[in-house]
């Protein structure tokens, strides 16, 4: 599903090079619920961004469903993200000028889904995440947890192969975070959506079936739990 082959990522700021990832090779299989864990600066968000075609590796290559992302144009990369990936970010995830429903519809609109179908599917997914009655609210009128639920709805509404979530619970209280995790777990179980998290939240790590630990840009542990 997702493959990183000998990936190295080096950032350069004012002539100073920082190695974020060193020669990382990691494959994420379909249907997995995986956490990339590690302290700040370990390279987990960098790896997530590379998998998500949001950034390009300095060396090595990333494959999405067997297709190398290297050499694709920005427009082609956007197209792959649109068709195959869903994203949940840490905070300020939603477009503030759009309502919850419009935020969810936005991805489908980019995909060219017709308005009537968009609305129906958006309302369906918002119902699944328990926000059917907040569909017309704008992000600023919702709590952090509700916003993240809308982000989950937006990430899964287009039925992507993989949802990449960067610290999705970082700004939430533990109860809200647990509810959100249960929701994503349910999506993984019911719809077979692959989830890949970058996190240092122990609860997320605990609920993940596979835990990949990074330190200083390298994988130091990769453990899978029996289902």
């Amino acid at each position: 599903m997702l493959e990183a082959r000998a990936v190295t990522k080096i950032y350069e700021t004012r002539g100073v090079e920082t190695v974020a990832l060193r020669d990382v090779t990691l494959t994420i299989e379909a249907g997995e619920f995986t956490a990339l864990a590690g302290p700040s600066g370990s390279g987990k968000t960098t790896l997530l961004n590379l998998y998500g075609a949001l950034d390009v590796p300095t060396r090595g290559e990333i494959l999405l469903e067997g297709e190398a992302l290297h050499g694709l144009s920005p427009s082609e990369l956007a197209q792959r993200r649109l068709q195959k990936l869903g994203f949940i970010f840490q905070a300020y995830n939603l477009i503030p000028v759009l309502s919850a429903r419009e935020n969810v519809e936005f991805v489908m609109e980019l995909q060219g889904v017709r308005p009537a179908e968009r609305k129906e599917r958006a309302m369906g997914v918002l119902g699944e995440v328990g926000l059917g009655d907040l569909a017309d609210k704008r992000p600023l009128e919702m709590s952090g947890g509700q916003q993240q639920r809308v982000a989950v709805a937006r990430a899964i509404v287009s039925e992507p192969r993989v949802v990449l979530a960067d610290e999705p619970t970082a700004n939430l209280d533990s109860r809200t975070a647990e509810g959100l995790l249960d929701l994503m777990h349910e999506m993984n179980r019911r719809h077979g959506v692959t989830f890949l998290f970058s996190t240092h939240d122990p609860m997320v790590i605990e609920k993940s079936q596979r835990r990949v630990r990074l330190r200083d840009g390298q994988i130091v542990a990769d453990e899978s739990l029996a289902a």
């Binding site: 427009s75 197209q79 960067d166």
Partner: protein, 414 residues
């Protein structure tokens, strides 16, 4: 590029742009006000300028020129009694049947001298048909003292300024003298019937009108005339009338529109058009910088949001369209308000602005003392078209910057 153009036809692009424009009301208000005041002031200034220049054109047509004039060949270069129009050819031309004509009149025009017991002034002696002349010029309605020429014989009307120089008033006698067709000096005594005041000082100071037949008799012209003056209906094309008239009169007559007779007026209209473009250029260049600045500020404020939109699959072309749409909306609102300001100002002063305090100076240039602001269709269309083009050009830089943003970099911003 294709993606950007296609996205501009999506309702959602405009809906989101509209909401983003309304997101920072103060900033939108400031740039919107700057655009609307700039456009409004330009339209209003141009309305006054064109009101003045069209007032000059109208005054020239109303007081003297009509829309079209016909002379014998060479008259305009070297006016003289020997260059006249054959009345039988005019009869044959059936001028009254020409479409779009509201009136026509025959005239005799010659240089002469008018004398009173106190003074003598060189003048233009104009023989007119009193009834017909009223259908082509407004001399008859510009009488401020006495009356226009009528059925009474041996009467003249002249400008009030000329009367002051001659120290005469209606009822007084003057002598009009000139060289007749044979080259002999001739003169007749006339009584002043009335005095007129027009927006042309030159006409008011140097023209004497008398009945056509009396002028023909005095100058020994027989039935011949110097010129034919025609007036068209409002909005009709004098050029078309002149063309038809030329065909009917054939060789031996020079048919010219007011534009050919007064090229300076045409040049002034063109010059004011150019001034309009200079004003628009100044307003729109300032506007372009304002829009680019607002969009750049807005982009940096929303950079994380832009990153997220690109992360979830928005293509760079669509991002360009989003910025273009914001710019066009901002400009449209500003220009719309500007049009209201400009048109509202012109409408408020539609009764005219009274400049009679400066009448001495203005009439010297043939400018009416009451200027009615004039807004042409093009004066509204041009700023709108240029504004939209400016909006597109001004937003290109921020739009391309937005399209080149790396989603991963943008998302890192908080």
């Amino acid at each position: 590029m294709i993606e950007a153009l296609r996205s501009l036809f999506l309702a959602s692009t405009w809906r989101m742009a509209w909401r983003n424009v309304g997101r920072n009301p103060r900033r939108t208000g400031i740039i919107g006000s700057a655009i609307s005041i700039g456009v409004g002031a330009t339209i209003f200034a141009m309305a006054i300028n064109f009101g003045m220049i069209f007032g000059m054109v109208r005054a020239a047509i109303d007081t003297e020129l009509g829309h079209v004039q016909v002379h014998g060949i060479g008259f305009e270069k070297k006016p003289g009694l020997e260059i006249s129009l054959d009345p039988s050819r005019i009869e044959e031309a059936r001028i009254e049947e020409l479409p779009g004509l509201t009136g026509w009149a025959r005239r005799v025009r010659h240089e002469g001298l008018v004398s009173s017991p106190r003074a003598a002034v060189g003048v233009r002696v104009v023989g007119v048909e009193p009834g017909r002349e009223a259908s082509v010029t407004q001399i008859a309605t510009s009488i401020v003292e006495g009356s226009f020429l009528g059925s009474e014989r041996r009467r003249v009307v002249m400008g009030a300024r000329l009367a002051r120089r001659l120290k005469v008033k209606p009822g007084d006698k003057v002598v009009v003298s000139a060289q007749d067709l044979a080259g002999d000096l001739t003169g007749e005594a006339f009584r002043v019937a009335g005095l007129f005041e027009t927006s042309s000082r030159e006409l008011d100071e140097s023209a004497v009108y008398l009945a056509l037949d009396e002028a023909q008799e005095m100058l020994g012209l027989g039935e011949a005339i110097s010129e034919l003056v025609l007036r068209t209906t409002e909005g009709a094309d004098p050029e078309a009338l002149a063309l038809q008239l030329s065909e009917r009169l054939g060789d031996g007559a020079e048919v010219r529109t007011w534009e050919e007779m007064r090229p300076t007026l045409v040049a002034m209209v063109a010059m004011f058009d150019q001034i309009g473009w200079v004003l628009y250029a100044a307003v729109f260049v300032a506007m372009a910088f304002g829009i680019a600045n607002v969009l750049m500020m807005s982009l940096y404020e929303r950079i994380r949001e832009v990153g997220i939109m690109m992360a979830i699959g928005m293509r760079p072309g669509r991002m360009v369209a989003a910025m273009l749409a914001e710019s066009i909306l901002l400009t449209t609102v500003g220009v719309g308000l500007g049009l209201l300001i400009g048109l509202g100002g012109a409408e408020l002063l539609s009764e005219g602005i009274d400049f009679s305090r400066w009448s001495d100076g203005l009439t010297g240039y043939g400018i009416p003392t009451k200027i009615i602001p004039s807004v042409r269709t093009g004066d509204l269309r041009d700023p709108v078209v240029i504004a939209v083009i400016t909006a597109i050009l001004a937003s290109l830089w921020p739009a391309l910057r937005a399209a080149r943003i790396q989603p991963a970099d943008a998302i890192r911003h908080v």
